[in-house]
């Protein structure tokens, strides 16, 4: 009888010690903030590799970028021979697609509107309403977008589409 009571009190004490000492220490560690929904780094890099393969098969040099649902870049790559500004365009198209959950090519009319120019001033960073980026969905939720730039816009979009199976 005494023994089992003693055992319980040891258990209670150890739980109390855990709550008092371990939990605050864990809470004090500088953990990353809860990130916005997005593909993982590994998925993003695999998608870039897939897009590069598609671009090589088509004989073009592209820049491709993967962004999360907030439009923040997760990974990008500029193929050898792709022009320097294609990195910005790929990123800008991907951000456009991620922020609105649509293919960037479907937003040409919005891109010409006055609403877009004020939106573009509000949101820092490049935004391009041209074809070449597609949204990335997971279980019906928008988690980001991928964009490519460097060839005809239809070719850019085809390269993205062939990489989307990674997600």
């Amino acid at each position: 009888m005494f023994r089992s009571q003693y055992r319980w009190s040891v258990l209670a004490r150890s739980i109390l010690a855990t709550v008092i000492f371990v939990v605050p220490v864990a809470a004090q560690q500088r953990d990353a903030p809860a990130p916005p929904p997005g593909p993982t780094t590994a998925q993003a890099m695999a998608a870039l590799a897939a897009a590069q393969e598609a671009a090589e098969a088509l004989g073009v040099s592209l820049s491709c970028a993967v962004v999360d649902s907030r439009g923040d870049m997760i990974a990008m790559a500029r193929m050898d021979g792709a022009r320097f500004f294609t990195t910005d365009v790929a990123q800008g198209k991907a951000r456009m697609s991620a922020l609105f959950g649509q293919p960037s090519g479907a937003m040409a009319d919005f891109g010409n509107s006055a609403a877009f120019s004020s939106f573009n001033e509000t949101i820092p960073g490049p935004l391009y309403a041209f074809q070449g980026a597609l949204p990335i969905m997971r279980d019906g939720e928008l988690i980001g977008a991928m964009g490519c730039s460097g060839a005809a816009s239809q070719v850019d979009e085809d390269a993205v589409r062939s990489a989307l199976s990674v997600f």
């Binding site: 990353a32 990130p35 780094t41 993003a44 590069q52 870049m73 997760i74 990974a75 790559a77 320097f84």
Partner: protein, 166 residues
């Protein structure tokens, strides 16, 4: 007559041999040092990620070419979103000035540095954490990291360059 023919054949052979050797050398001289390729940039990033995972750091890592233009960049899982911009900005500064970004920090307020930042669209970040990549005496690019302490960022990119032999 026959001797003459042999001589011209030998001359032709010598020209072909010499031409095949000399042409690539001349081409290399014209094109300058070999530029950084995407596969090299990706190898640097992979090495930096391995080093960061060993040290339990969450980083964004960016590789730019000698002009400061982006080649490849990656944000590791749980690295803060804003670290990507800082990694790219540090690498751009290191490439454009051909020095570790730590050396640029002290002079970041000088007129030249402010002007250079205007020229490049305000993207430069003069903080420790990026080093230039030098090949044959030319700055062919730079690699920058962000997400840990400035010293850890710099140690990480140096370790990555060491691992890939650049």
């Amino acid at each position: 007559m026959k001797q003459n023919k042999n001589f011209s054949r030998a001359l032709l052979a010598i020209m072909i041999v010499f031409g095949s050797v000399a042409a690539p050398v001349r081409l290399a001289a014209q094109n300058g040092p070999q530029r950084l390729t995407l596969s090299e940039a990706q190898a640097i990033i992979a090495a930096a990620q391995r080093d960061a995972a060993r040290k339990n750091l969450r980083l964004s890592i960016a590789v730019v070419d000698g002009r400061g233009d982006l080649i490849a960049a990656t944000r590791m899982p749980n690295a803060r979103s804003t670290t990507m911009d800082t990694a790219i900005g540090k690498a751009m500064g290191a490439a454009i000035f051909g020095r570790p970004s730590a050396e640029l920090a002290a002079r970041s307020d000088s007129p030249l540095y402010r002007n250079m930042n205007e020229v490049t669209g305000g993207r430069l970040r003069f903080f420790q954490g990026a080093v230039p990549i030098v090949r044959n005496g030319y700055t062919v690019g730079a690699v920058g990291a962000s997400g840990a302490s400035a010293q850890d960022d710099e140690d990480n990119v140096k370790a990555a360059l060491g691992a890939v032999g650049l």
